[in-house]
Amino acid sequence: MARDATALALWLRHANAMFANEQAALNALDAAIGDGDHGANLARGFAKVVTKLDEATQATPAALFKLAGMTLIGTVGGASGPLYGTFFLEAAKAAGDAATLDDAALAACLRAGLAGVRARGKAEPGDKTMVDALIPAIAVLDGGGSLAKAAEAARDGAEATKPIVARKGRASYLGERAIGHVDPGATSSAMLLACLAEAS
C-alpha cells in the first residue's frame, strides 16, 4: 500500500483529535511523575500542525513530515517537543523525495524517527520513556508485522513502563516513587502509532 502526503496527513489529523481528547488523561499521567503538562504540550503542538496543514497542501511525505517536525519543535516545548520534532524531521530525511511511501518505506521512516529520538534523548530501553513504546513497535515492523500489530506492541511497551523506575526526564528525580505509574511519553507514542494504523 502506497501513501501519498494527503493520505499521511490524515495520520496527523487523527493524532490531533486524539491528543485533544486525551489531553487531560496525559496531563494526569504526567502530574503523577512529572509536571503535569504533557497532554497540554502535545495538544498545543498538534493543533498547530493541523492549522498549518489547512493552510497549504504538502507535495511529498517528506515535506509533510518536515512541516510536522518543525511545527512541533516550535510549539510544544518541554522534553517531548524536541523529541517528537526530531522524530518527524528524521522521518522526513528518510522519506527522501518519494511521492508515496509503501509499507517498507514508511517503516524506514519510523525507524529513522526512533533513531533520531534515541540520538537526541540518549534514553536506553527500560529508562521509562517514549522509547519503550517505540522500540517494540519498530521491532514488529522490522519482522514484517502490520502497523496495527506495531501499535499494539507500542501499547504493551507503554504498559510495561509501569513497574519500573525512570532514568531519564523529570520522573528520574522521583526514584522509587515513579514505580506504579505509566510513563506519559510512552503512552502518547503508543497513541501516535494507533492513529497511524487507523489512518493507513
Partner: protein
C-alpha cells in the same frame, strides 16, 4: 486559585508587555517568537549571553537582561521550556560576532531545546557554546537520573560571566568561567507551601500545616522528603550541611552566599535565614565575601527558601563585583 491575572493562557504575554512598559530603558521585548533582549543589542565585539527557561521563576531570566549580565532571555510557558525558535532568534538578535554562550539549566526539556537551537544557530554561522548548570544537591547525580537540576548557581553564573563578558573577555574564557562557577557552586531548597500553576488552578502538592517539603526544585515538583516544620536556624543547617559536604567546601575557602526566596516568602524571613546561614559558614571556617539575599529565582507563589554557596576565585569575584544594570539586579556604574 487567587492570582492577579486575567486568564492563565495570557499571563506570560501580559507580564512580558508589563516588563516592556516598566523597563523600556534597559530591555526590548520581542514577541512571536518571545524573547527579551538588552536595549542596545547586539553589542559588537562582546560575547553574548543567552538564557531562558519556563516562566514562573521571575525575575529569572528576563529580569537579568541588561548591561553586565544577560544579552537575551527566552521565556517559555509557565514551567515549560521555551522552544528552539525563540532561542535561535534571540541568539541572532544579540550575536556581537565574537561568540554566544547559552546558559542552560539542567532539565531535559531545556537541554534538548537549547541543543536544537544551538545546532540551528551554528548552521547560520554563529559561534554558539553551551554550559549546562546542575548545582542542586537534592538530586543524586548518577547515571540513573537526568542529573542534578540547575538552580541558584544559574543566577550567579549569569552575573559573573556577564560581568566578565562586558569587560571584554573572549568567548573561551567566558565559557570556562561559566563551567568553573557551576563546578564550584552547590544549592539546596525547601518549600513551606506548594505553588499553584495558573493553568492547573490548584496547588502542585499537598502539605500539612506542620510540614515542609525538603529538597524541592523550582517547578513545584515534590522534593526529597517531607518532614515536620523546623525553626529557621535548623532549616539553615539542614540546607547548608549537604551543600558544604558535597563540593566539599574547606576551611579557609572564600565564598559567595546566596539566600533565595521562592516567591511567597517575605524578605524579613530571608534575613532571618541569612543570619543563620552566614553563622554556619563562619563555624565551618568559610569567609563570606559576597552576598545576595532576595527572591531572584522563584516558583510562582511558593513559600520557601534555597541556599547557594559558591567557592570564589579572583576572576569570579571580579565578575560578581562588576557593574550590572538590569531590572532585577543593579550595582556599580
Amino acid at each position: 486559585m487567587k492570582k492577579l491575572i486575567n486568564a492563565p493562557e495570557h499571563v506570560v504575554a501580559e507580564a512580558l508587555e508589563g516588563m516592556a512598559f516598566a523597563h523600556a530603558d534597559l530591555i526590548r521585548v520581542n514577541r512571536d517568537p518571545d524573547f527579551i533582549a538588552r536595549a542596545d543589542a547586539p553589542v559588537r565585539g562582546k560575547v553574548a549571553l543567552v538564557s531562558g527557561g519556563g516562566s514562573g521563576h521571575e525575575p529569572m531570566h528576563g529580569g537579568f537582561v541588561g548591561r553586565g549580565m544577560l544579552d537575551a532571555a527566552c521565556p517559555g510557558a509557565v514551567f515549560t521550556s521555551p522552544t528552539p525558535d525563540q532561542m535561535l532568534e534571540a541568539t541572532k538578535a544579540v550575536d556581537g560576532g565574537v561568540g554566544v554562550l547559552h546558559i542552560v539549566k539542567n532539565y531535559t526539556g531545556d537541554v534538548l531545546n537549547f541543543e536544537m537551537a544551538a545546532d540551528l544557530a551554528r548552521e547560520e554561522g554563529i559561534d554558539v557554546h553551551a554550559v549546562v548548570i546542575d548545582d542542586d544537591v537534592a538530586v543524586k547525580d548518577s547515571l540513573y537520573t537526568a542529573g542534578r537540576r540547575g538552580v541558584g548557581a544559574t543566577v550567579l553564573a549569569e552575573k559573573i560571566c556577564g560581568g566578565m563578558a562586558e569587560a571584554g573577555a573572549p568567548v573561551d574564557h567566558v565559557v570556562d568561567l561559566c563551567r568553573a562557577v557551576n563546578g564550584a557552586a552547590r544549592s539546596m531548597g525547601l518549600a513551606l507551601t506548594p505553588c499553584t500553576v495558573p493553568h492547573a488552578g490548584k496547588p502542585s502538592f499537598d502539605l500539612a500545616e506542620d510540614e515542609m517539603e525538603f529538597g524541592i526544585g523550582i517547578h513545584g515538583e515534590p522534593g526529597r522528603r517531607r518532614m515536620k516544620l523546623e525553626p529557621a536556624d535548623r532549616i539553615a543547617e539542614m540546607l547548608m550541611e549537604p551543600i558544604l559536604e558535597d563540593l566539599p567546601f574547606r576551611r579557609g575557602d572564600d565564598i559567595l552566599l546566596f539566600v533565595n526566596g521562592m516567591g511567597g516568602t517575605p524578605l524579613i524571613e530571608l534575613y532571618v535565614v541569612y543570619r543563620a546561614a552566614e553563622a554556619i559558614a563562619a563555624k565551618h571556617g568559610l569567609a563570606v565575601s559576597c552576598r545576595l539575599v532576595g527572591s531572584y529565582m522563584t516558583s510562582l507563589d511558593m513559600a520557601g527558601v534555597s541556599i547557594t554557596a559558591l567557592r570564589l576565585d579572583d576572576t569570579m569575584r571580579k565578575g560578581w563585583d562588576a557593574p550590572v544594570i538590569t531590572p532585577a539586579l543593579r550595582w556599580g556604574g
